[in-house]
Assembly symmetry: C2
């Protein structure tokens, strides 16, 4: 729709106006003429175009004046000089005698606020869809990163907290925005260009200007402070600011950063406006006579499932986990990724690095980088994400406050993500987030903090699924499920811990004559127990029936929400028990094999110390047999003393940063 | 999609399960059989249906057992007695010898949580779309009213603040919800029905149960406290509660009320769940084995434009407005609506009843009632809405807090609504809300409070338009615009104050020889001024040029946002001036005719006291001439001393409650 502006002219008077190319000026000719005027004629410079509404069939040069005679004026190109174009309207009386002439002096300017609305990494010129957002491959709308990394690793703080640009490298985290203008060397006196945002949007955005433009490089400039080169234009404290107009054809560069991720009260959309202000008089505010606008969507925080290639594996070194670390180091090396040790002075004995943080990333057509979500969990690893990970091109975000009550379900062993799935025709090409909570039908359960859940849901592109994990002492979804890559079907399998599969295996051992095979052989200080004894323990059987029911409930939810069939699921033989001191909450009876680390085709699995048959652990053999058809290799890691006995396993004690998806989030069409 | 539930059975064992009609039980037959079993056969009661997956072509009654042999079990009708249905699976070895039999005892129940999802005022049975919301005439999803009226006029408080139902009349403000069950006289031991909501939704909803159902009326019941008859089920403090199960076919009635209108952090959608819980053991929480859900949308607060029929007109009586009141009383009577006087003890001298409140309504298929939005403005009328309007079927809502800073733009003379419009193919059948703010390009302007703006935007069905009103001393949109009904075109005209039209009229008077006609004749104590003197005042002309620019800016916005053409707009001859004591802010120079009250085809217009020509006020004559073709009659009301001179007019000093739209809001398809 063409922007129109009402303009008034007067006979015997010269009026001046600045016209923006692409708009229309509407001039009602009757408003300024007395009733004695009966007709009019129009003359104008060749640069000016006009049409008359209502259209007339007048054969003469004089057009009859009607109550709504309106002149619609346009110009095709910018003026070279102020007021170099002219239009005049001559009014005539009943006898066609000239009554008076109104003159309009015009200056045309071209103004466009431009962004990368077609998402190809380049700021195009005046994209017709730049003012709105549409999801999908046929969609449009620009993208903004939350500038949550820190250009300085030593004086660190997320860059969005600073209102200054101190390093040129920070610019690449921002979205380029261009103010394109074309016109005379200077705007007519008093006219101004202004960038502005609403108060609501201002809280979430900051805009810098490239202040070097239009200046010739001098010795002084080279040594001037860098921050002076990128003056702050818009910020939470400043919703509007005049920007320089440069004559001729000019492209002024701006850099935009996001300050907040989408959340419960913020849908991620932000609008920036560029207005041309017309002076009225020193006494009155300037009037915006033209406004162009662009819309950004803040990039969501995206998690990476096990099916994406691993880049770095993080593990804590503690006083007692030497063997574990060695085993893991070998696996990580063999898997072609990098091992990052979190040293004792960093972890202060807290080894649960899976629980402390979740790796994700943010993506835009111009740039992407990893962003760690720091859990609200309180432990000695608390400072690790901020102190050791936040840095150049490594972002940081958290949803936490001192007042919050936290519980074990707030740890990020309880936050996972599925591989891409399609469910009843709805596609989730970035997978779906999975968290564990209490049954919604109970009053007294533990839940993941609402602020974290709100954040996860608000990201929109990996619509979360809530599972029931409050039946576990620790209460994390990674205690009973994992995903592994597969060459067939949906490209992955869901692995579920299954007491039933465990009992089937133990029964098979018994009926094959291995009832006296012992568990826990080789574990120092651990009492051995035979297959027969396990099968003869009615209390254990009873508890595992309950556990199987809990896992089956989650199985049904996952089948429904991920669109899985039974053939997409593999049951792993794992038993649980309920140590008396924990009130009816379950922990793994032997190392919980499903709590594995997945590095490409290599699986780092807690060594289960199961009953040995012919020198081979029957549990290891079973897992290997289940994984081999998928081309997956199991590496069994002894985590018994240093992790399993304090209620965690391999996955809990490690964390993996992975390649981002090749699929871009803006090509999704999520449920709004 | 059919809900499926994983179930496990065991040879040599009888398992019991409750089945919900419409779901599927999935039983993997291989999970419970040793590898020596090679085939199976199934028998069941005639009430039970099953199919085998993967399907087999077996010619014999024995089906080969494969790793994923699954039995899919359904039942068509509810059981009459607990566990009156049975299914058994017999397993066979290699030689077809019987190895063992697993027995499953089944109780089928029908369970449905029902609402009026098709929006016809009746709760239908198990609407397939009841769990989601879709706008539009082909849409679906139930509707909830915020229970913001007060059943008691004397002990008053909005009903949603109380967790008790004290009057049966309160039930009609609520949405009926029905739990339909069919099954044996009692659920098998330990099974429970539970209603539950998420913590987030719980803050916004309350559910009561009809506790009289299933009880025989006794003398005692009749005299028991009413509130015991409607026990509270769900509330912000109680996210889940067990509800009684009644045997046979039963419809249990529930009543749902909304506690909050949609706002910035609440999209208006609420979900209620009904789950069937299965007991595990006294030690463990019950497992939800079936969940049905319904979705409600809280009804938005809807404003009523001038084109809707008036019902009641509210005016304040003050010590000095006798004449005004008499004039208005006559107009109101003639227009067939009721006059409501706000007496001095209620208004304490504050006559700006337009500014204090805005009438709207909320609507659902089952009920609707007016709701007054109380402005955050602070004046002596502050208590009026709550004390005098809130009552049975008259709701109250406000967005205000003591800490808020308020200014004149927070008064509701600055909150209007257009008649229905269609703009570039997008239809707004309930019109669009119009508010006045400062230019977005200025730092120092006055604005309407953000909490009020957020509330208005969140209602969605009358997408607001922000105009520029900060050029006026008082700063209200009703100072320069109004809508009147019209028999043609879009069904209405936009009236705009126009200094230009004013000057045209005065010039015409001058050239017709009436330059010495005097303004303000008949106004006691007011200095007369001639047409010539007005036209010869360059300062007045200069100020009105500026005012015209401001109004033209709004004209362009309204044309664009309401899809108007010039022929939809009528310019009224009104001049403004800027009294020195006000810093460059405008007020009407003579009574501001556009600030009128519209009552059907009658317009109550501030008497302008314009120059008289042949005994007739030229301004009145002009307005009558402009309105007559639309079939509208002007009644000129003298508000000079009692309103105009203290910066308000007829519209500011009155308020009109109107008929709601016949068009229902849920048939819209608003921008989300």
């Amino acid at each position: 729709m063409v922007l129109t502006r009402t303009l008034r002219i007067k006979p015997h008077t010269a009026t001046s106006a600045v016209y923006v190319v692409g708009t229309e000026l509407n001039i009602n000719l009757n408003w300024c003429a007395p009733s004695t005027c009966k007709s009019f004629s129009v003359r104008c410079s060749p640069t000016v175009k006009y049409r008359i509404s209502p259209p007339t069939q007048a054969q003469t040069t004089l057009t009859p004046l009607t109550p709504n005679s309106t002149l619609i004026v346009t110009m095709d190109t910018a003026s070279e000089h102020a007021f170099d174009s002219k239009l005049s309207v001559r009014y005539y009386g009943e006898q066609a005698e000239t009554w008076g002439t109104a003159v309009l002096h015009l200056t045309a300017v071209e103004i466009s606020l431009d962004v990368d609305a077609d998402r190809d990494g380049v700021v195009e010129k005046n994209n017709p869809n730049k003012g709105s957002w549409k999801w999908g491959p046929e969609g449009h709308g620009a993208i903004l990163l939350v500038n949550c990394d820190s250009e300085s690793f030593f004086m660190k703080s997320p860059d969005y907290k600073s209102s200054k640009i101190t390093k040129v490298s920070d610019l690449k985290d921002m979205s380029r925005m261009v103010v394109r203008t074309k016109g005379p060397a200077e705007l007519p006196a008093g006219y101004k260009l202004t960038l502005h945002v609403s108060q609501t949007d201002a809280e979430k955005i900051r805009v810098f200007r490239d202040g070097k433009q239009g200046r010739s490089p001098t010795y002084k400039n080279i040594f001037s402070y860098f921050i002076k080169d990128y003056p702050l234009v818009l910020s939470p404290d400043n919703v509007c600011q005049e920007i320089p107009y440069n004559g001729g054809s000019f492209e002024a560069d701006f850099f935009v950063e996001g300050l907040r991720f989408a959340d419960k009260d913020f849908n991620g959309l932000l609008t920036i406006n560029l207005s041309l202000l017309e002076p009225t008089s020193p006494l009155f505010p300037e009037t915006p006579i033209f406004t162009d606008k662009v819309m950004f969507h803040v990039a969501p925080w995206i998690m990476t499932p096990n099916t994406l290639d691993p880049l770095e594996v993080f593990i804590c070194r503690t006083s007692d986990n030497d063997a574990f670390l060695k085993g893991m180091a070998q696996l990580v090396k063999q898997s072609g990724c990098e091992l990052k040790i979190c040293h004792e002075f960093q972890n202060r004995g807290d080894r649960w690095i899976q629980d402390e943080m979740e790796f994700g990333y943010i993506d835009s057509p111009h740039h992407h980088f990893p962003v760690v979500l720091d859990s609200p969990r309180r432990g000695d690893l608390d400072d690790y994400c901020y102190d050791e990970l936040l840095g150049p091109d490594f972002g940081y975000v958290t949803r936490s406050s001192c007042e919050m009550e936290v519980n074990s379900l707030d740890s990020f062993g309880n936050l996972e993500v599925s591989p891409p799935v399609t469910v009843n025709g709805r596609s989730y090409p970035l997978g779906r987030i999975i968290i564990g909570v209490a049954f919604p039908t109970t009053h007294h359960g533990r839940n993941m903090a609402k602020v974290v859940q709100d954040f996860l849901w608000a990201q929109k592109v990996q619509e979360p699924i809530a599972l029931f994990s409050d039946w576990l002492t620790v209460g994390h979804v990674d205690e009973f499920m994992s995903f592994v890559p597969a060459p067939d079907r949906k490209g992955f399998r869901l692995l579920l811990a299954s007491p039933d599969a465990g009992y089937r295996l133990f029964h098979r051992l018994q009926s094959d004559g291995h009832g006296q095979a012992m568990m826990f052989e080789g574990v120092s200080g651990k009492k051995l127990i035979s297959v027969d004894d396990i099968l003869n323990d009615p209390q254990l059987k009873y508890m595992n029936n309950y556990v199987q029911g809990c896992i089956d409930w989650n199985r049904d939810v996952l089948k429904k929400e991920l669109g899985l069939e039974e053939d997409d699921i593999i049951d792993l033989p794992i038993l649980f028990h309920m140590p008396e001191e924990e009130e009816n909450l379950a922990v793994a009876y032997y190392p919980d094999m499903v709590n594995m680390i997945v590095l490409g085709r290599n699986l780092g699995v807690p060594k289960p110390f199961g009953p040995r048959v012919g020198g081979t652990c029957a549990l290891e053999a079973e897992l290997c047999a289940l994984m081999a058809p998928l081309g997956l290799t199991c590496f069994f890691i002894d985590d018994f003393a240093s992790y399993h006995e304090i209620l965690g396993e391999v996955h809990c004690g490690s964390n993996t940063r992975r390649q981002p998806f090749t699929q871009r989030w803006w090509n999704l069409e999520p449920r709004e």
